[in-house]
Symmetry: none
Subunit: 155 residues, 2 copies
DNA sequence: ATCGTAAAGGTCAAAGAAAGTCAGTAGGCA
DNA sequence: TGCCTACTGACTTTCTTTGACCTTTACGAT
């Protein structure tokens, strides 16, 4: 029954076009489709997820915007890493192993690996549970960042 | 779209050019962009901060002016950064400004900056206090890691 | 020298303009 | 019935823009 969300989805898909990049104003789009602005967020968070190969950037306030980007194929492996290998918890050992792999396969440089390792090392407060949870989040966030410009290697 | 502040920012950036120095009249610029004079101050204080590597000098009264100067951060100054600028708490905005500066000064690459920014972005659980505390720790850890092999640049 | 005034720039708080979050409602369908 | 997906609205957070009021400076008139 042609839910509004479906229309919004295909509209965004058409915006993406060849480029694989689309910029939009949330309120504008919501008004165009006669729906609540938050429905745009709903569509983005259900149909344009990382699992499906999309990255979202946005800015609030005056002149705000939302940018949707299709993850390039070259980054597919990284994406799989994020969505498959990292669960909601990640031990220190697991993390270090992953970083080792990333470096081995020349996906990250030595310096990049060092930065990541530093961030994933250990956290003072909290229980082990919390630490592993946080570590998973950080790892996901960092790899996702890499995803964002995987082509721009060797600076 | 393209908030006025953004236009003002890129205008100033173009003024800075190679020299890294720009002089301007507040009222003149405000008139040129059709905005309130104080918006110039807004742009300066949000985009041309010391954290981002800019120095502002100005004079009031007749013949007044504003001078913006880009000040590069040397790798050696990183150490001071760790010990001075990063207290036991670090806000998201501060962190992002610092990262921008590190990148501008070519101490970190674009990708490295992206990784750091991702790690420092936000931590959903926790209170604001805790987040800022954790962020300070992570920033310190990552910069220390960079210092450890600051020579091994360009991998 | 002193004072007055106009011509800068500075500050701050309030209002405005986006987008984000989340919990809850409603409609289909197994 | 109970679950899943679609949808909504109230509330939050972040960023921008504006205006009223303040401070500093140069310059000319006394």
């Amino acid at each position: 029954m042609a839910a509004v969300s479906d229309s919004i989805e295909s509209f965004i898909l058409s915006l993406l076009g060849e480029e694989g990049v689309a910029e939009l104003r949330r309120n504008e789009l919501a008004h165009y489709f006669g729906c609540a602005p938050s429905q745009i967020n709903y569509v983005l968070s259900t149909r344009f997820t990382l699992e499906r190969g999309y990255l979202i950037r946005s800015k609030r306030g005056g002149g705000g915007y939302i940018v949707i980007e299709r993850v390039p194929v070259s980054a597919a492996e990284l994406q799989a890493l994020v969505t498959e290998q990292i669960a909601d918890r990640l031990s220190r050992a697991q993390a270090m192993a992953m970083i080792g792999n990333l470096m081995e396969s020349e996906i990250v440089t030595c310096r990049e690996a060092a930065i990541m390792a530093a961030a994933l090392d250990k956290y003072p407060m909290a229980t082990r549970e919390t630490q592993d949870f946080l570590r998973a989040q950080l790892m996901r966030a960092m790899i996702t960042a890499l995803l964002r410009d995987v082509d721009s290697r060797s600076q």
